[in-house]
Protein backbone atom coordinates (compact mmCIF):
# COMPACT_ATOMS: atom_id res chain seq x y z
CA UNK A 1 0.00 0.00 0.00
CA UNK A 2 1.27 3.46 -0.92
CA UNK A 3 0.85 5.45 2.31
CA UNK A 4 2.06 8.80 1.02
CA UNK A 5 0.12 10.75 3.63
CA UNK A 6 -0.14 9.73 7.26
CA UNK A 7 -2.05 11.96 9.66
CA UNK A 8 -1.91 11.19 13.37
CA UNK A 9 -4.11 12.74 16.05
CA UNK A 10 -4.11 16.13 14.36
CA UNK A 11 -5.39 19.19 16.24
CA UNK A 12 -5.55 22.71 14.87
CA UNK A 13 -7.13 26.04 15.90
CA UNK A 14 -6.93 29.49 14.27
CA UNK A 15 -7.92 31.11 17.58
CA UNK A 16 -6.96 29.65 20.94
CA UNK A 17 -9.74 27.51 22.36
CA UNK A 18 -11.66 27.29 19.06
CA UNK A 19 -10.43 24.03 17.59
CA UNK A 20 -11.21 23.55 13.90
CA UNK A 21 -9.72 20.04 13.72
CA UNK A 22 -9.94 17.71 16.69
CA UNK A 23 -7.94 14.51 16.63
CA UNK A 24 -7.88 13.56 12.95
CA UNK A 25 -6.06 10.31 12.17
CA UNK A 26 -6.05 9.15 8.56
CA UNK A 27 -3.86 7.20 6.19
CA UNK A 28 -4.27 7.89 2.48
CA UNK A 29 -3.58 5.10 0.04
CA UNK A 30 -3.89 4.79 -3.73
CA UNK A 31 -7.69 4.99 -3.73
CA UNK A 32 -9.12 8.22 -5.14
CA UNK A 33 -10.67 9.94 -2.16
CA UNK A 34 -13.34 12.57 -1.61
CA UNK A 35 -13.63 14.57 1.59
CA UNK A 36 -17.15 15.83 2.19
CA UNK A 37 -18.76 17.80 5.00
CA UNK A 38 -20.65 20.96 5.82
CA UNK A 39 -19.21 24.43 5.28
CA UNK A 40 -16.96 25.11 8.25
CA UNK A 41 -16.35 21.39 9.00
CA UNK A 42 -12.59 21.93 8.63
CA UNK A 43 -12.02 20.46 5.14
CA UNK A 44 -10.14 23.40 3.61
CA UNK A 45 -8.12 23.85 6.81
CA UNK A 46 -7.17 20.17 6.58
CA UNK A 47 -6.02 20.64 2.96
CA UNK A 48 -3.88 23.64 3.95
CA UNK A 49 -2.30 21.59 6.74
CA UNK A 50 -1.48 18.77 4.30
CA UNK A 51 0.13 21.28 1.96
CA UNK A 52 2.19 22.68 4.83
CA UNK A 53 0.63 26.15 4.65
CA UNK A 54 -0.52 25.67 8.25
CA UNK A 55 1.24 23.68 10.96
CA UNK A 56 -0.44 21.27 13.40
CA UNK A 57 -0.98 22.53 16.96
CA UNK A 58 -0.46 18.93 18.03
CA UNK A 59 -0.28 15.57 16.31
CA UNK A 60 1.56 15.14 13.04
CA UNK A 61 1.31 14.95 9.27
CA UNK A 62 3.80 13.02 7.21
CA UNK A 63 3.99 13.64 3.45
CA UNK A 64 6.13 11.03 1.69
CA UNK A 65 7.95 10.51 4.97
CA UNK A 66 8.51 14.25 5.58
CA UNK A 67 7.04 15.68 8.79
CA UNK A 68 5.30 18.93 7.77
CA UNK A 69 6.39 20.59 11.03
CA UNK A 70 10.02 20.31 9.96
CA UNK A 71 9.72 21.82 6.52
CA UNK A 72 8.09 24.66 4.60
CA UNK A 73 5.26 24.65 2.05
CA UNK A 74 7.94 25.33 -0.56
CA UNK A 75 9.85 22.29 0.66
CA UNK A 76 6.78 20.13 0.08
CA UNK A 77 5.86 21.63 -3.27
CA UNK A 78 7.65 18.94 -5.27
CA UNK A 79 5.44 16.32 -3.66
CA UNK A 80 2.06 17.90 -3.12
CA UNK A 81 -0.04 20.34 -5.13
CA UNK A 82 -3.14 22.10 -3.81
CA UNK A 83 -5.74 23.73 -6.04
CA UNK A 84 -7.35 26.46 -3.97
CA UNK A 85 -11.11 26.80 -3.61
CA UNK A 86 -10.96 30.42 -4.73
CA UNK A 87 -8.69 30.75 -7.78
CA UNK A 88 -8.15 34.44 -6.98
CA UNK A 89 -6.12 33.30 -3.95
CA UNK A 90 -3.78 31.41 -6.26
CA UNK A 91 -3.41 33.47 -9.45
CA UNK A 92 -1.10 36.49 -9.64
CA UNK A 93 0.66 36.56 -13.02
CA UNK A 94 -0.54 38.78 -15.84
CA UNK A 95 -0.82 36.11 -18.48
CA UNK A 96 -2.11 32.56 -18.46
CA UNK A 97 1.06 30.82 -19.67
CA UNK A 98 3.32 32.62 -17.16
CA UNK A 99 0.90 31.72 -14.38
CA UNK A 100 1.00 28.03 -15.20
CA UNK A 101 4.79 28.02 -15.79
CA UNK A 102 5.46 29.68 -12.43
CA UNK A 103 5.18 26.47 -10.40
CA UNK A 104 7.42 24.24 -12.54
CA UNK A 105 10.05 27.02 -12.77
CA UNK A 106 10.03 27.33 -9.01
CA UNK A 107 10.81 23.67 -8.50
CA UNK A 108 13.83 24.19 -10.75
CA UNK A 109 12.45 22.71 -13.95
CA UNK A 110 14.35 24.21 -16.85
CA UNK A 111 12.45 26.76 -18.98
CA UNK A 112 11.67 24.48 -21.93
CA UNK A 113 10.49 21.65 -19.68
CA UNK A 114 8.39 24.10 -17.64
CA UNK A 115 6.83 25.46 -20.82
CA UNK A 116 6.03 21.95 -22.11
CA UNK A 117 4.48 20.99 -18.79
CA UNK A 118 2.42 24.21 -18.76
CA UNK A 119 1.23 23.78 -22.33
CA UNK A 120 0.28 20.15 -21.66
CA UNK A 121 -1.67 21.14 -18.55
CA UNK A 122 -3.45 24.01 -20.32
CA UNK A 123 -4.47 21.68 -23.13
CA UNK A 124 -5.94 19.27 -20.57
CA UNK A 125 -8.22 22.02 -19.24
CA UNK A 126 -9.07 23.36 -22.70
CA UNK A 127 -7.28 26.71 -22.33
CA UNK A 128 -4.54 26.18 -24.92
CA UNK A 129 -5.84 29.11 -26.96
CA UNK A 130 -5.78 31.61 -24.06
CA UNK A 131 -2.03 31.66 -23.37
CA UNK A 132 -1.55 35.41 -23.68
CA UNK A 133 -4.78 36.40 -21.88
CA UNK A 134 -4.70 38.08 -18.50
CA UNK A 135 -6.34 35.57 -16.13
CA UNK A 136 -8.47 38.36 -14.68
CA UNK A 137 -9.98 39.04 -18.11
CA UNK A 138 -11.32 35.48 -18.07
CA UNK A 139 -14.39 34.14 -16.28
CA UNK A 140 -14.33 32.61 -12.78
CA UNK A 141 -14.78 29.12 -14.25
CA UNK A 142 -11.79 29.67 -16.56
CA UNK A 143 -9.69 31.03 -13.68
CA UNK A 144 -10.53 27.87 -11.74
CA UNK A 145 -9.25 25.84 -14.71
CA UNK A 146 -6.04 27.92 -14.77
CA UNK A 147 -5.55 27.11 -11.07
CA UNK A 148 -6.02 23.43 -11.87
CA UNK A 149 -3.56 23.62 -14.79
CA UNK A 150 -0.98 25.38 -12.57
CA UNK A 151 -0.95 22.43 -10.20
CA UNK A 152 -1.09 19.77 -12.94
CA UNK A 153 1.99 21.39 -14.50
CA UNK A 154 3.92 20.78 -11.27
CA UNK A 155 3.51 17.03 -11.90
CA UNK A 156 3.40 16.26 -8.16
CA UNK A 157 2.69 12.78 -6.81
CA UNK A 158 -0.10 14.10 -4.60
CA UNK A 159 -2.82 16.41 -5.92
CA UNK A 160 -5.48 18.00 -3.70
CA UNK A 161 -8.49 19.66 -5.32
CA UNK A 162 -10.52 22.04 -3.14
CA UNK A 163 -13.96 22.29 -4.74
CA UNK A 164 -12.78 21.87 -8.35
CA UNK A 165 -16.24 22.09 -9.90
CA UNK A 166 -17.17 25.55 -8.56
CA UNK A 167 -18.64 27.62 -11.41
CA UNK A 168 -18.22 24.76 -13.90
CA UNK A 169 -20.97 23.80 -16.33
CA UNK A 170 -21.78 20.23 -17.35
CA UNK A 171 -18.93 20.10 -19.86
CA UNK A 172 -16.43 21.54 -17.36
CA UNK A 173 -17.46 19.02 -14.71
CA UNK A 174 -17.05 16.12 -17.12
CA UNK A 175 -13.62 17.44 -18.09
CA UNK A 176 -12.52 17.66 -14.42
CA UNK A 177 -13.88 14.16 -13.81
CA UNK A 178 -11.70 12.96 -16.71
CA UNK A 179 -8.62 14.75 -15.31
CA UNK A 180 -9.10 13.19 -11.87
CA UNK A 181 -9.48 9.71 -13.41
CA UNK A 182 -6.38 10.25 -15.53
CA UNK A 183 -4.31 11.33 -12.51
CA UNK A 184 -5.50 8.30 -10.55
CA UNK A 185 -4.64 6.11 -13.56
CA UNK A 186 -1.13 7.59 -13.50
CA UNK A 187 -0.77 6.34 -9.91
CA UNK A 188 -1.05 9.76 -8.28
CA UNK A 189 -2.73 10.21 -4.93
CA UNK A 190 -5.79 12.39 -5.53
CA UNK A 191 -7.80 13.96 -2.70
CA UNK A 192 -10.79 16.12 -3.48
CA UNK A 193 -12.90 18.32 -1.24
CA UNK A 194 -16.41 18.41 -2.66
CA UNK A 195 -19.99 19.45 -2.10
CA UNK A 196 -21.37 17.84 -5.26
CA UNK A 197 -22.54 14.45 -4.03
CA UNK A 198 -23.44 13.18 -7.52
CA UNK A 199 -19.89 13.92 -8.67
CA UNK A 200 -18.45 12.19 -5.57
CA UNK A 201 -20.58 9.08 -6.15
CA UNK A 202 -19.58 8.87 -9.81
CA UNK A 203 -15.86 9.51 -9.35
CA UNK A 204 -14.29 8.42 -6.05
CA UNK A 205 -13.58 5.03 -4.52
CA UNK A 206 -13.26 6.25 -0.95
CA UNK A 207 -15.22 8.96 0.84
CA UNK A 208 -14.43 10.59 4.18
CA UNK A 209 -17.02 12.66 6.02
CA UNK A 210 -15.80 15.55 8.17
CA UNK A 211 -18.15 16.87 10.81
CA UNK A 212 -17.25 19.56 13.33
CA UNK A 213 -13.55 18.97 12.91
CA UNK A 214 -13.66 15.21 13.24
CA UNK A 215 -13.92 12.20 10.93
CA UNK A 216 -17.55 11.10 11.16
CA UNK A 217 -17.41 8.40 8.45
CA UNK A 218 -14.69 6.79 6.35
CA UNK A 219 -15.17 3.96 3.89
CA UNK A 220 -15.90 3.02 0.31
CA UNK A 221 -18.12 5.60 -1.35
CA UNK A 222 -20.97 3.08 -1.55
CA UNK A 223 -20.68 2.23 2.16
CA UNK A 224 -20.66 5.90 3.11
CA UNK A 225 -23.72 6.78 1.00
CA UNK A 226 -25.58 3.86 2.56
CA UNK A 227 -25.43 5.62 5.96
CA UNK A 228 -28.34 7.98 5.49
CA UNK A 229 -28.84 8.93 9.14
CA UNK A 230 -25.17 9.65 9.85
CA UNK A 231 -24.91 11.75 6.69
CA UNK A 232 -27.99 13.67 7.74
CA UNK A 233 -26.44 14.36 11.14
CA UNK A 234 -23.34 15.69 9.32
CA UNK A 235 -25.64 18.03 7.34
CA UNK A 236 -25.22 16.13 4.07
CA UNK A 237 -27.54 14.66 1.49
CA UNK A 238 -27.13 11.49 -0.50
CA UNK A 239 -26.68 11.63 -4.29
CA UNK A 240 -29.90 12.12 -6.29
CA UNK A 241 -29.85 8.62 -7.74
CA UNK A 242 -29.24 7.08 -4.29
CA UNK A 243 -32.26 8.94 -2.97
CA UNK A 244 -34.40 7.76 -5.88
CA UNK A 245 -33.47 4.12 -5.21
CA UNK A 246 -34.17 4.51 -1.49
CA UNK A 247 -37.51 6.23 -2.12
CA UNK A 248 -38.52 3.31 -4.33
CA UNK A 249 -37.77 0.95 -1.45
CA UNK A 250 -34.74 -0.63 -3.07
CA UNK A 251 -32.11 -1.96 -0.65
CA UNK A 252 -29.25 -1.40 -3.13
CA UNK A 253 -27.27 1.86 -2.83
CA UNK A 254 -27.03 3.26 -6.36
CA UNK A 255 -24.15 5.58 -7.19
CA UNK A 256 -24.79 6.38 -10.85
CA UNK A 257 -27.76 6.79 -13.18
CA UNK A 258 -26.35 3.99 -15.37
CA UNK A 259 -26.35 1.56 -12.42
CA UNK A 260 -29.95 2.46 -11.68
CA UNK A 261 -31.11 2.09 -15.28
CA UNK A 262 -29.40 -1.25 -15.70
CA UNK A 263 -30.91 -2.52 -12.41
CA UNK A 264 -34.38 -1.22 -13.30
CA UNK A 265 -34.30 -2.85 -16.71
CA UNK A 266 -33.78 -6.17 -14.99
CA UNK A 267 -36.76 -5.60 -12.71
CA UNK A 268 -40.33 -6.05 -13.72
CA UNK A 269 -41.41 -2.66 -12.45
CA UNK A 270 -44.95 -1.47 -12.38
CA UNK A 271 -45.95 1.96 -13.57
CA UNK A 272 -44.68 1.72 -17.11
Amino acid sequence: MNSSIVVEDLYFAYNKGEEVLKGISLVFDERSTAIIGQNGAGKTTFAKLLKGLLKPDSGSISIKGIDTRNTTAAGLSRHIGLIFQNPNDQIFKSNVLDEVMFGPLNIMKEEKRARDLALGALEKVGLENELEQNPYDLTLSQRKLIAIASVLAMDTEIVIFDEPTIAQDHRGKEMIKGIIRELVGMGKLVLTIMHDMDFVAETFERTIVFSQGQVALDGSTREVFTREQLLKEAGLERPHVTRLGAKLGCSHTFLTAEEFVSFAKKCDHRGR
Partner: protein
Protein backbone atom coordinates in the same frame (compact mmCIF):
# COMPACT_ATOMS: atom_id res chain seq x y z
CA UNK B 1 -47.96 42.39 -13.60
CA UNK B 2 -44.72 42.50 -15.58
CA UNK B 3 -41.71 43.12 -13.31
CA UNK B 4 -38.99 42.74 -15.92
CA UNK B 5 -39.30 43.30 -19.66
CA UNK B 6 -36.27 42.52 -21.82
CA UNK B 7 -36.81 43.50 -25.44
CA UNK B 8 -34.38 42.48 -28.17
CA UNK B 9 -31.38 43.08 -25.89
CA UNK B 10 -28.04 43.09 -27.67
CA UNK B 11 -24.76 43.76 -25.95
CA UNK B 12 -21.04 43.63 -26.70
CA UNK B 13 -18.27 44.16 -24.12
CA UNK B 14 -15.87 47.01 -25.05
CA UNK B 15 -12.87 44.78 -25.82
CA UNK B 16 -14.85 41.94 -27.43
CA UNK B 17 -15.45 41.21 -31.10
CA UNK B 18 -18.62 39.20 -30.64
CA UNK B 19 -21.94 40.08 -29.07
CA UNK B 20 -22.37 38.55 -25.58
CA UNK B 21 -26.16 38.90 -25.92
CA UNK B 22 -27.75 38.58 -29.33
CA UNK B 23 -31.30 39.86 -29.20
CA UNK B 24 -32.77 38.47 -25.97
CA UNK B 25 -36.49 39.06 -25.35
CA UNK B 26 -38.37 37.85 -22.29
CA UNK B 27 -40.95 39.03 -19.77
CA UNK B 28 -41.00 38.12 -16.10
CA UNK B 29 -44.10 38.44 -13.90
CA UNK B 30 -44.08 39.72 -10.32
CA UNK B 31 -43.45 36.94 -7.80
CA UNK B 32 -41.94 34.51 -10.27
CA UNK B 33 -38.74 32.54 -9.72
CA UNK B 34 -36.83 32.23 -12.97
CA UNK B 35 -33.92 29.79 -13.37
CA UNK B 36 -31.32 30.76 -15.96
CA UNK B 37 -29.33 27.83 -17.35
CA UNK B 38 -26.82 27.24 -20.11
CA UNK B 39 -23.15 26.45 -20.61
CA UNK B 40 -20.37 28.81 -19.52
CA UNK B 41 -20.08 31.64 -22.03
CA UNK B 42 -23.81 31.50 -22.88
CA UNK B 43 -24.38 35.05 -21.60
CA UNK B 44 -26.05 34.19 -18.29
CA UNK B 45 -23.92 36.45 -16.09
CA UNK B 46 -24.08 39.23 -18.69
CA UNK B 47 -27.87 39.03 -18.65
CA UNK B 48 -27.77 39.32 -14.83
CA UNK B 49 -25.56 42.41 -15.10
CA UNK B 50 -27.97 43.88 -17.66
CA UNK B 51 -30.92 43.44 -15.29
CA UNK B 52 -29.20 45.47 -12.55
CA UNK B 53 -27.69 48.08 -14.89
CA UNK B 54 -23.98 47.20 -14.56
CA UNK B 55 -24.39 46.50 -18.28
CA UNK B 56 -24.05 49.06 -19.77
CA UNK B 57 -23.43 51.69 -17.05
CA UNK B 58 -20.34 50.10 -15.49
CA UNK B 59 -18.97 47.97 -18.33
CA UNK B 60 -19.96 50.37 -21.15
CA UNK B 61 -19.69 48.67 -24.58
CA UNK B 62 -22.28 48.50 -27.38
CA UNK B 63 -25.90 48.21 -26.25
CA UNK B 64 -29.14 47.80 -28.17
CA UNK B 65 -32.76 47.01 -27.31
CA UNK B 66 -34.11 47.69 -23.84
CA UNK B 67 -34.48 46.37 -20.31
CA UNK B 68 -37.28 47.71 -18.13
CA UNK B 69 -37.12 46.80 -14.44
CA UNK B 70 -40.17 47.63 -12.35
CA UNK B 71 -41.03 50.51 -14.67
CA UNK B 72 -37.48 51.92 -14.92
CA UNK B 73 -35.68 51.70 -18.23
CA UNK B 74 -32.17 50.54 -17.32
CA UNK B 75 -30.38 52.54 -20.03
CA UNK B 76 -31.95 55.81 -18.87
CA UNK B 77 -31.68 55.18 -15.11
CA UNK B 78 -28.89 55.71 -12.60
CA UNK B 79 -27.47 52.55 -10.98
CA UNK B 80 -28.30 54.11 -7.59
CA UNK B 81 -32.00 54.31 -8.57
CA UNK B 82 -31.95 50.77 -9.94
CA UNK B 83 -30.28 49.48 -6.76
CA UNK B 84 -33.42 50.29 -4.79
CA UNK B 85 -35.46 48.07 -7.13
CA UNK B 86 -33.11 45.22 -7.93
CA UNK B 87 -30.22 43.59 -6.04
CA UNK B 88 -27.47 41.38 -7.44
CA UNK B 89 -25.75 38.55 -5.61
CA UNK B 90 -22.39 38.04 -7.34
CA UNK B 91 -21.04 34.67 -8.42
CA UNK B 92 -17.96 35.04 -6.21
CA UNK B 93 -18.72 36.25 -2.66
CA UNK B 94 -15.17 37.56 -2.30
CA UNK B 95 -16.11 40.11 -4.98
CA UNK B 96 -19.20 41.21 -3.10
CA UNK B 97 -18.07 41.52 0.52
CA UNK B 98 -16.88 45.10 0.93
CA UNK B 99 -13.78 44.56 3.07
CA UNK B 100 -14.70 47.85 4.73
CA UNK B 101 -16.45 46.27 7.71
CA UNK B 102 -14.97 44.16 10.48
CA UNK B 103 -18.00 42.08 11.42
CA UNK B 104 -20.67 40.13 9.59
CA UNK B 105 -23.32 42.27 11.27
CA UNK B 106 -21.76 45.55 10.10
CA UNK B 107 -21.27 44.14 6.60
CA UNK B 108 -25.03 43.58 6.27
CA UNK B 109 -25.61 47.04 7.77
CA UNK B 110 -23.41 48.67 5.12
CA UNK B 111 -25.99 48.77 2.34
CA UNK B 112 -28.70 49.87 4.78
CA UNK B 113 -26.55 52.74 6.06
CA UNK B 114 -26.19 53.90 2.48
CA UNK B 115 -29.97 53.84 2.14
CA UNK B 116 -30.25 56.15 5.17
CA UNK B 117 -32.59 53.90 7.17
CA UNK B 118 -33.24 54.54 10.85
CA UNK B 119 -31.47 52.36 13.41
CA UNK B 120 -34.46 50.29 14.57
CA UNK B 121 -35.42 49.36 11.02
CA UNK B 122 -31.81 48.46 10.22
CA UNK B 123 -31.55 46.15 13.23
CA UNK B 124 -34.81 44.41 12.33
CA UNK B 125 -33.73 43.87 8.73
CA UNK B 126 -30.22 42.65 9.62
CA UNK B 127 -31.53 40.17 12.22
CA UNK B 128 -34.06 38.79 9.74
CA UNK B 129 -31.56 38.42 6.90
CA UNK B 130 -28.92 36.75 9.08
CA UNK B 131 -31.52 34.38 10.53
CA UNK B 132 -32.98 33.53 7.12
CA UNK B 133 -29.52 32.54 5.83
CA UNK B 134 -28.64 30.81 9.12
CA UNK B 135 -25.52 32.86 9.84
CA UNK B 136 -26.75 34.85 12.84
CA UNK B 137 -24.30 32.95 15.07
CA UNK B 138 -21.40 34.40 13.07
CA UNK B 139 -22.57 38.01 13.44
CA UNK B 140 -19.48 39.14 15.38
CA UNK B 141 -16.94 37.42 13.12
CA UNK B 142 -14.77 39.14 10.55
CA UNK B 143 -16.31 38.33 7.12
CA UNK B 144 -12.92 37.16 5.88
CA UNK B 145 -12.67 34.59 8.68
CA UNK B 146 -15.77 32.81 7.32
CA UNK B 147 -15.61 29.71 5.15
CA UNK B 148 -16.43 30.14 1.45
CA UNK B 149 -19.96 28.88 1.94
CA UNK B 150 -20.64 31.06 4.97
CA UNK B 151 -19.35 34.08 3.05
CA UNK B 152 -21.66 33.30 0.17
CA UNK B 153 -24.61 33.30 2.55
CA UNK B 154 -23.41 36.64 3.95
CA UNK B 155 -23.39 38.07 0.40
CA UNK B 156 -27.00 36.94 -0.08
CA UNK B 157 -28.04 38.28 3.35
CA UNK B 158 -26.56 41.70 2.53
CA UNK B 159 -28.79 41.94 -0.54
CA UNK B 160 -31.93 40.52 1.09
CA UNK B 161 -31.64 43.07 3.92
CA UNK B 162 -31.98 45.88 1.37
CA UNK B 163 -35.42 44.45 0.45
CA UNK B 164 -35.28 45.03 -3.27
CA UNK B 165 -38.39 43.94 -5.18
CA UNK B 166 -36.23 41.88 -7.50
CA UNK B 167 -33.17 39.82 -6.64
CA UNK B 168 -30.79 38.51 -9.28
CA UNK B 169 -28.51 35.70 -8.05
CA UNK B 170 -25.54 34.55 -10.10
CA UNK B 171 -24.74 30.96 -9.03
CA UNK B 172 -25.36 31.69 -5.36
CA UNK B 173 -24.94 28.10 -4.16
CA UNK B 174 -21.75 27.11 -5.98
CA UNK B 175 -19.66 27.08 -2.80
CA UNK B 176 -22.35 25.82 -0.44
CA UNK B 177 -22.71 22.38 1.07
CA UNK B 178 -25.90 20.45 0.18
CA UNK B 179 -27.75 21.65 3.27
CA UNK B 180 -26.62 25.23 2.66
CA UNK B 181 -27.83 25.03 -0.96
CA UNK B 182 -31.19 23.71 0.15
CA UNK B 183 -31.45 26.53 2.69
CA UNK B 184 -30.80 29.11 -0.03
CA UNK B 185 -33.50 27.60 -2.25
CA UNK B 186 -35.92 27.49 0.68
CA UNK B 187 -35.08 31.12 1.49
CA UNK B 188 -35.66 32.04 -2.16
CA UNK B 189 -38.99 30.19 -2.09
CA UNK B 190 -40.00 32.11 1.03
CA UNK B 191 -39.05 35.45 -0.54
CA UNK B 192 -41.07 34.47 -3.62
CA UNK B 193 -44.12 33.74 -1.45
CA UNK B 194 -43.73 37.28 -0.08
CA UNK B 195 -44.07 38.61 -3.63
CA UNK B 196 -40.41 39.09 -4.50
CA UNK B 197 -39.30 38.37 -8.06
CA UNK B 198 -36.18 36.24 -8.36
CA UNK B 199 -33.84 35.44 -11.22
CA UNK B 200 -31.15 32.84 -10.53
CA UNK B 201 -28.31 31.53 -12.66
CA UNK B 202 -27.61 28.01 -11.46
CA UNK B 203 -25.91 24.81 -12.60
CA UNK B 204 -27.72 22.71 -9.95
CA UNK B 205 -30.33 21.53 -12.39
CA UNK B 206 -32.26 19.31 -9.96
CA UNK B 207 -32.86 22.28 -7.68
CA UNK B 208 -34.02 24.48 -10.55
CA UNK B 209 -36.36 21.69 -11.65
CA UNK B 210 -37.83 21.56 -8.15
CA UNK B 211 -38.19 25.26 -7.38
CA UNK B 212 -38.30 27.44 -10.53
CA UNK B 213 -41.54 28.63 -12.15
CA UNK B 214 -39.85 29.05 -15.52
CA UNK B 215 -36.47 28.32 -17.01
CA UNK B 216 -34.53 30.47 -19.48
CA UNK B 217 -32.11 28.36 -21.53
CA UNK B 218 -29.29 30.46 -23.00
CA UNK B 219 -26.64 29.40 -25.48
CA UNK B 220 -24.15 31.51 -27.41
CA UNK B 221 -25.83 34.75 -26.30
CA UNK B 222 -29.26 33.66 -27.54
CA UNK B 223 -32.40 32.66 -25.67
CA UNK B 224 -33.05 29.10 -26.84
CA UNK B 225 -36.12 28.49 -24.68
CA UNK B 226 -38.15 30.18 -21.95
CA UNK B 227 -40.78 27.87 -20.55
CA UNK B 228 -41.87 25.72 -17.60
CA UNK B 229 -39.01 23.54 -16.26
CA UNK B 230 -40.67 20.30 -17.35
CA UNK B 231 -40.90 21.58 -20.94
CA UNK B 232 -37.31 22.83 -21.09
CA UNK B 233 -35.83 19.73 -19.43
CA UNK B 234 -37.81 17.46 -21.75
CA UNK B 235 -36.08 18.88 -24.81
CA UNK B 236 -34.33 15.98 -26.54
CA UNK B 237 -31.63 18.43 -27.74
CA UNK B 238 -30.85 19.83 -24.25
CA UNK B 239 -27.36 18.28 -24.09
CA UNK B 240 -26.50 19.94 -27.39
CA UNK B 241 -26.69 23.22 -25.46
CA UNK B 242 -24.20 21.97 -22.84
CA UNK B 243 -26.83 21.28 -20.18
CA UNK B 244 -27.51 17.87 -18.64
CA UNK B 245 -31.16 17.20 -17.79
CA UNK B 246 -31.92 16.38 -14.13
CA UNK B 247 -30.76 12.87 -13.23
CA UNK B 248 -34.40 11.84 -12.72
CA UNK B 249 -35.23 12.92 -16.27
CA UNK B 250 -32.21 11.10 -17.74
CA UNK B 251 -33.11 7.90 -15.90
CA UNK B 252 -36.77 8.01 -16.94
CA UNK B 253 -35.79 8.78 -20.54
CA UNK B 254 -33.45 5.76 -20.61
CA UNK B 255 -36.24 3.63 -19.16
CA UNK B 256 -38.82 5.25 -21.52
CA UNK B 257 -41.09 6.06 -18.57
CA UNK B 258 -43.18 9.21 -18.95
CA UNK B 259 -45.46 10.97 -16.53
CA UNK B 260 -48.98 9.80 -17.36
CA UNK B 261 -50.61 13.20 -16.95
CA UNK B 262 -48.15 15.37 -18.84
CA UNK B 263 -46.81 12.82 -21.31
CA UNK B 264 -43.34 14.22 -20.49
CA UNK B 265 -40.39 12.79 -18.60
CA UNK B 266 -40.43 13.57 -14.85
CA UNK B 267 -37.95 16.18 -13.61
CA UNK B 268 -38.16 15.79 -9.83
CA UNK B 269 -37.64 13.01 -7.29
CA UNK B 270 -41.35 12.83 -6.54
CA UNK B 271 -42.21 12.78 -10.24
CA UNK B 272 -39.74 9.98 -10.92
CA UNK B 273 -40.95 7.93 -7.95
CA UNK B 274 -44.57 8.25 -9.14
CA UNK B 275 -43.68 7.34 -12.71
CA UNK B 276 -41.33 4.44 -11.99
CA UNK B 277 -43.67 2.94 -9.37
CA UNK B 278 -41.56 0.20 -7.87
CA UNK B 279 -38.36 -1.63 -8.61
CA UNK B 280 -39.02 -5.06 -7.16
Amino acid sequence: MKKIIVDNLKYRYPSAQELALKGISLEIEKGQFIGVIGPNGAGKSTLCQALVGLVPHFYHGAYGGSVVVDGLEVLKSEISALALKVGLVFQNPFTQVTGAKLTVYDEVAFGLENMGLDRAEMIERIDRALTLLDIYRYKDRNPFDLSGGQMQRLAIASIIAMKPQIIVLDEPTSQLDPQGSEEVFKAVDKLKSEGMTLVMVEHKIEKIAEYADKVALLSGGELVDFDRPIRVFSRPDLERYGVAAPVYTRICRDLKIKDEKTGLYPITLEGAVAAVGSLE
